[in-house]
Symmetry: C2
Amino acid sequence: MEATRKILELNAFDMNAAEGLAPEVTSLVRRRKETFGPTSMLFYERPLNLVRGEGVWLHDADGTRYLDAYNNVPSVGHCHPRVVEAVSRQIGTLNTHTRYLYSNIYTYAERLLGTMPGPISNIVFTCTGSESADFAIRVSRAVTGGTGFIVTDNAYHGNTSAVTEISPSSASAEPRPPYVFIVPAPDTYRERPDAVGARFAKDVREAIAKMNAAGIRLAAFIADSIFSSDGVFPGEPGFLAETIAAVHQAGGVYVADEVQPGFGRTGEKMWGFDRHGLVPDMVVMGKPMGNGFPMGGVAIKPNLLEAFGSKSGYFNTFGGNPVAAAAGLAVLDVLEEEGLQQNSFETGAYLRSELRISGADSVGDVRGTGLYIGVDIVTDKQSREPDRDTAEKIVNGMRDRNILIGIAGRHGNVLKIRPPLCFNREHADIFLDGFKGALADAS
Amino acid sequence: MEATRKILELNAFDMNAAEGLAPEVTSLVRRRKETFGPTSMLFYERPLNLVRGEGVWLHDADGTRYLDAYNNVPSVGHCHPRVVEAVSRQIGTLNTHTRYLYSNIYTYAERLLGTMPGPISNIVFTCTGSESADFAIRVSRAVTGGTGFIVTDNAYHGNTSAVTEISPSSASAEPRPPYVFIVPAPDTYRERPDAVGARFAKDVREAIAKMNAAGIRLAAFIADSIFSSDGVFPGEPGFLAETIAAVHQAGGVYVADEVQPGFGRTGEKMWGFDRHGLVPDMVVMGKPMGNGFPMGGVAIKPNLLEAFGSKSGYFNTFGGNPVAAAAGLAVLDVLEEEGLQQNSFETGAYLRSELRISGADSVGDVRGTGLYIGVDIVTDKQSREPDRDTAEKIVNGMRDRNILIGIAGRHGNVLKIRPPLCFNREHADIFLDGFKGALADAS
């Protein structure tokens, strides 16, 4: 618990440290504390006071612009005009719910499902990734008759009561329920990369055996295929196949959490599970789906949805409304027309290769796929000892250079770099220049 | 279970009956079935194919307009220009999350909390009423150390795993958990109205005693103060006071679910709990908050939020984003400037008195507060026997007259009338004219 708490507080502003800040920022911090309470977390030693966003740029009230290499929600770029136009037009025309017919939601559903493997041909719309993961939990239990879940040891899948239970990275006053089993994430830096698939599958099989020995049947294995909150471990394409076979053999379902890797982020494919040649039973979607318009969804095999729906009801008031459909369609249009998946592939590869060149002893590992990059900060390359303090210094040093990144991993030492997908080579060069300075200052 | 299933399917379109419909509707139904699956529920014997909304009107693809007396999400009117303008402007300017500072979310939080009783001075933003209720469950458990919940027998509080457990009206394959206790809703039509408060409090005290006898401590009593899904029972102002005193005495918290009664809907007050002179420990908000922009929130006493937040993390990616703040502020502006609470009070009172005049034997009871009205349809006034078939006929008869209403109640016999709050006397007269015809045809 203690370790988890500390990690949640990484890169957090100290709410009692407002005095050294600009008067406007101090005033906002005070108003925040009064309304949100003192435990609501704010980023950075010196918090950002934002007023405008555009593409990969965020602007603060003082006119400073920040290169955004952190935010994956505005995936096609902050305030993309196509999305803005689509939302503005639709919200002024019709905004209701899916108990009436309107054509654009079916058009969107068809387009989105068209990017999935054939067996995944139904969809349930929600408003957030958390609601999506929660629905996937309900369905997993209903269709398998099992209650057990297997997740990685620093996974994060969302914030509802049920999803918090399967999110070991979340601080929670409650102990982990007896039906949630954890396995160590595939740490391709500290394990042998070519053996990690077999080790992971072995751990999952052992978890299933332990679970069954305790009289609990497997409902689902759920993972985000790049293991982002575990510290960004995309691994070799295909390494998850043995694990998923074991899950299916035990009667469980495989839920792919695509909130992080989905919508072209990995560069290689539209979906993270596609990198592994897998067909999930359910696909959980959220964050980048509407470029910031609150929307989520679960793509699902029809037999599972029908088995669930024949006994249980589910209706989501805002889910799949006409404005969400318009936002979602605009995102798919922009992804295609601007070739953002390809850009993610190319710019991501360029960034990783340049980051590796730095050669600093604290840069232990640079990994990722597309524009989801983890930089494992260590005390030295020999010991590979996680170095959280230096990682935090780098994050704040980057912020001082007007570049935004974050932190991931169970040791809180992995720099998390996941800019909007329109982040190009020019932006990468600005980033690398800042990184050099922040790294030098932190070392 | 069977009874619940039937009620969920009330006013549902038969997905296999598409053949008699217009070709365009048939095609949409087919596309819906292929993408959403056959268990996704659509309203009406003849579903609506909508293309446009404005004020209290919805328009279908054939150019027919429908008087909307059902939808409480677009509470200040479909596509209200002030909300449309606010959302369109903000979504093109900045849309990020609450780990950065931006002033409009604090302005909104201050304005919203300013409408609450003094002790409720903190807020946590979410995206939906379901997320809000789910968060309230987490907090209730964390701060009381209890796990037990008390709800009414046909309550609906949302769709997550945890919230479904405390929503007896939801069809669910899973049995009710041992820590959820139900009490009969305050049926002011079939009980003595002046005795319902004492009876309800007695049942809640007994539920607490049973719970304690089973070794379970009370976490929370949660109710929507107009008991909407139970069949619309606002009751006499103040009748809940004895119940809440018992809840507090047992160490539980009182969660007011204001998704239905909040934001001026009751006409008498801004909030449903205000009608009873109560100060809840938490206030759950959703549906009308952003007039259709997906947003929700939990207003909370600061000591409870701090007790929760000191041990548990909560972050909602889309919750409280700048666009939600803009939508929420516009809704508060319109409510005030257009005097919608007062209109709700006056038009609601007018509608109820005119509905009572009909004198039909099947109109057993007309009740409600403001523009939340329930009409209890019975076989005859003597027996007060719920008559679901006639209620369904009236709903479809109203739809044939281009007027939209719904159904509530554990017997599925209560007409649910809750139009946008800009529904005025002229609209009420159109409504009453249609009602006369639909009632005559159904009788």
